[in-house]
């Protein structure tokens, strides 16, 4: 099993509590199913749209992220899949697509040890 990070982009925060409840229920169903099948390492967390970005050698602090709404990361999860094809297949049930959002699927990189020299 390989670990993959799902980065959800274009997650829209619902306006009313009722819509919120409906939407959370959908995410719950999807993630629970994946988790019950043993394919979730960490459910991860949803993220608020705003925040700060600290960047560059000058460590400049700006309000961000200043990408377009559909490109802002709205949350993440870490899943377990045989290979990237399976990780893609698992993502197809994600409720993010109802918001016309996207799931970016990235295998976790293993940092190799130095060779001792």
């Amino acid at each position: 099993m390989t670990e993959f990070v799902y980065l959800y982009r274009g997650y829209e925060l619902p306006a009313s509590p009722e819509e919120m409840q409906k939407k959370t229920a959908k995410w719950m169903t999807w993630l629970k199913d994946l988790s019950d099948k043993g394919h979730v390492k960490s459910l991860g967390e949803p993220l608020q749209p705003g925040g700060k970005v600290v960047k560059g050698t000058k460590k400049q602090v700006i309000d961000g992220p200043y990408a377009e709404a559909k490109d802002v990361v709205g949350g993440y999860s870490i899943i377990l899949a045989r290979d990237i094809e399976q990780a893609v297949a698992f993502s197809l049930g994600c409720p993010i697509f109802e918001d016309s959002g996207s799931v970016e699927i990235r295998p976790i990189a293993q940092m190799e040890l130095g060779n001792g020299y």
Binding site: A25, W27, M28, L31, L43, P46
Partner: protein
């Protein structure tokens, strides 16, 4: 502000069971604390702003929000039910999981699972009942001590020990567990004893403890509302409770004195409950097993279906007692059987039957044993003998109602 007397008591079990479902059994104390806290907040807020439209929903929402706070603050498996932990640790799933636990279905399910957990095989029947009353019926230690004529310290010890055993379980009893049917027998026995304690209680203050009967019925209803869990014996016990509860209003007169069964005003019996009990009794008539609940309910139904005391089918009742003695012999049942025989064949036959009761000595402190002897002698016209028996009964009486009842019988003997 005006809320029903037992409002908090009834809400207590619902909330504690639900929170225990979220926090896990080992965190029962936390669930109890959060419930108490929700009650305190309710009292404070309602005093200032008046009663909300739906007090029960208000309390539930307060407890739910408090649970959410705690789970967020802790963010560790320490305060989570093991199977839910993974969903309680992420914001993707935390709120909907808590929401789900507070849904009407889940609240009832948690109460049922708690009820089965309380009937842990390592606990005595007394401890099981004390635990049910404490956790699911919101009775405090003092109230339980009163209900069971026991000391505060003894009950407190019993409950503390019982909770410790409960907290050793990893989760609330799973209703799909292979042990379900054996655990169900313990649950039914506990509810049966709880009901009986209320119905012919040995309390020093009251001959009838209506609230114990009501709690037993409330918990019984939780069980029979879930079709997948219902067995014929559960229906039989529910029928027995309804048919007996229907007669509760006439067991005491206006001044709280016990009324002899034969003098009760049958028009005051609760006919809705009788109909309900009869329907449940019909539902119980399936399967191959005939339990004591079936037979006792059938006997109760013989009484409730007789319009007048004289119309009672005593022959049928005697044969039901014969069946009961065959599967579940006890001196109290033998005594009741003898009373039925006396109704059928006269007081001499009744007295004969009493004389041959096995283990008669076990009735030596039961006031209704000498009271029955007195009653039968009274019918034979042996007033001095009757009076002596009633006096013995009086010395064994457990509360003022029993004492008044027996004193009146002694006075009848004197007058005659």
């Amino acid at each position: 502000m005006d809320i029903e007397e037992h409002f908090f008591r009834h809400e207590f079990g619902r909330i504690v069971a639900t929170l225990t479902g979220l926090f896990g059994v080992r965190n029962l104390a936390l669930a109890e604390d959060v419930t108490q806290d929700a009650f305190c907040r309710a009292m404070e807020t309602w005093k200032l702003r008046g009663l909300p439209k739906n007090p029960s929903a208000w309390l539930m929402a307060t407890a739910r929000n408090r649970a959410l706070d705690i789970l967020r603050r802790e963010r560790t498996a320490r305060v989570s039910e093991p199977e839910l932990a993974r969903f309680l640790e992420s914001e993707w799933t935390l709120a909907p999981t808590v929401e789900e636990a507070f849904s009407a279905y889940a609240v009832n399910d948690s109460q049922l699972r708690m009820m089965f957990s309380c009937c842990h095989p390592h606990l005595s029947e007394e401890a099981q009942i004390a635990l049910i009353l404490h956790i699911l019926c919101g009775f405090n230690v003092k109230e339980i001590a009163q209900a069971f004529v026991s000391s505060h310290a003894a009950i407190e010890k019993r409950i503390t020990r019982a909770k410790k055993i409960l907290a050793e379980s990893t989760k609330l009893f799973d209703l799909a567990d292979a042990d379900f049917s054996s655990r169900l027998s313990s649950v039914l026995q506990a509810l049966y004893l709880l009901f009986n304690e209320g119905y012919h209680g040995s309390s020093p203050e009251a001959a009838v403890r209506m609230e114990l009967c009501q709690e037993a019925i409330r918990l019984m209803n939780l069980l029979i509302e879930q079709p997948a869990l219902v067995t014929p014996q559960s229906y039989a016990l529910a029928a027995l409770m309804c048919l007996n509860a229907a007669r509760l209003p006439t067991r005491l007169d206006g001044s709280g004195n016990l009324v002899s069964f034969f003098e009760q005003d049958r028009s005051l019996w609760d006919h809705t409950l009788i109909a309900e009990g009869q329907a449940l009794l019909n539902l119980s008539a399936s399967g191959t097993e005939v339990t004591k609940y079936h037979i006792e309910a059938a006997i109760a139904s013989m009484h409730t279906s007789a319009a007048r005391s004289e119309d009672t089918d005593w022959k049928q009742i005697v044969s039901l007692y014969d069946m009961l003695m065959a599967i579940h012999p006890s001196p109290v049942i033998a005594l009741n059987r003898a009373i039925a025989i006396a109704q059928l064949d006269g007081p001499e036959r009744g007295l004969q039957e009493i004389r041959v009761i096995h283990d008669l000595h076990r009735l030596s402190s039961y006031p209704f044993y000498p009271a029955t002897l007195g009653e039968l002698e009274l019918r034979r016209g042996n007033y001095p003998v009757a009076k002596a028996h009633f006096s013995t009964a009086l010395s064994l009486a457990r509360n003022p109602m029993e004492r008044n009842f027996l004193q009146r019988l002694i006075d009848t003997c004197k007058e005659s």
